[in-house]
Amino acid sequence: MMHTPKAARRLILIAAIAAAGIFATACSSDSDEDAEATAAPVEATATLAAPAAPAIEIADIRARATPGLENENSAAYAVITNRGTEKDRLVSGSVDASVAGRVELHTTVKEGEMMRMVQVDGWDIEPGASLELMPGGNHVMILELAEQFVVGDTFTLTLVFEQAGEIEVEVPVMEIATSGMATPGAMN
């Protein structure tokens, strides 16, 4: 039995990969409360060889380029998916002082013919669900920029989740036009 035939070995390998896959899917949430979850944006296709994928997946993150006024703001958008088995919640964000003064979570509400931004204390993300932060809707506000955000810049944003803890992401600065605009108030 020392020399397993090639075909059999291949079968065992496939079985092992499948098992690892099932294991990773079933147990993907438990290790994420540890420091391990400091992942860069993760692709939807988890690598089988890797340990359990982080429960929180952050995709399509970007921040708006700014005109370069005194004391200006920007907003960051992303699609945040909960790949785990427990509910999580985005509760806050932060950036280094060299980037901006503070970070808040905001939503846009329509009141009759008027619109306004309102600060919120977080958004729940159910297992398997995605939180969409998009222009005209929910967004991560970055206030009191130290310097103008120019297309091509990047900065580090730390997002804090109730379960997954702190996740650092590199955010590219882009020109953000209308595409993917939310209907204000639709998230409520």
């Binding site: 700014t66 005109p67 004391n71 905001h106 619109m115 931004m117 009191e144 036009a177 605009m181």
Partner: protein, 206 residues
Amino acid sequence: MQRILRRVRIPALVGIAVIVVALALGCREDAPAFASAVVEPPSRMPEVNLVAGDGQPFRLSDQQGKVVVVYVGYTFCPDLCPLAMSTLGNAYDRLPAEVRDGVQVVMITADPARDTPEVMAKYVNYFDPSFTGVSGDPATVLETLASWGIHPERSATGANGSYFVSHPTRMYVFNRDGLLRLQIAHDLEPESVASDLELVWREGND
């Protein structure tokens, strides 16, 4: 044989006549295919007599002969206002040159306490150098907006006295006679904004 021909010919002629009339009527009805809310009949809005970014007086009535798009927002606004302004910039770029020369985009601040004419000039220039930023004495700006039924409200944020302001969801489009013709939803696609602006411009050219 002749009867058959006649039978064929008469319905054919009637058919052609119907098609011609339908086309004529159809063309007339299809012409104003606006994506935006149409103001019918076009109405006059209270005068705006404020200050443009270059420090010169800005009067809405001085813009007659052009199609004027007015957006009311503020520069400390990081999400909706830049989105609306980039939509207008994008729509403006799509206009044929002759139409573009006859369209003026104007942003009036809803936050005159912070947005001086200079700040407005710098802000709108980021979206298109031809756009006009308008502010002025804060009390006068707010009175003007109130005369249009716009009442911006502040909401505080943070400890350093910074605040956000509520502002209208719609942009105002004035025809070449200076009358309010359309109200554009802030989330309309640039393609539709451009085609609406061109339609208003062509109305004045018929």
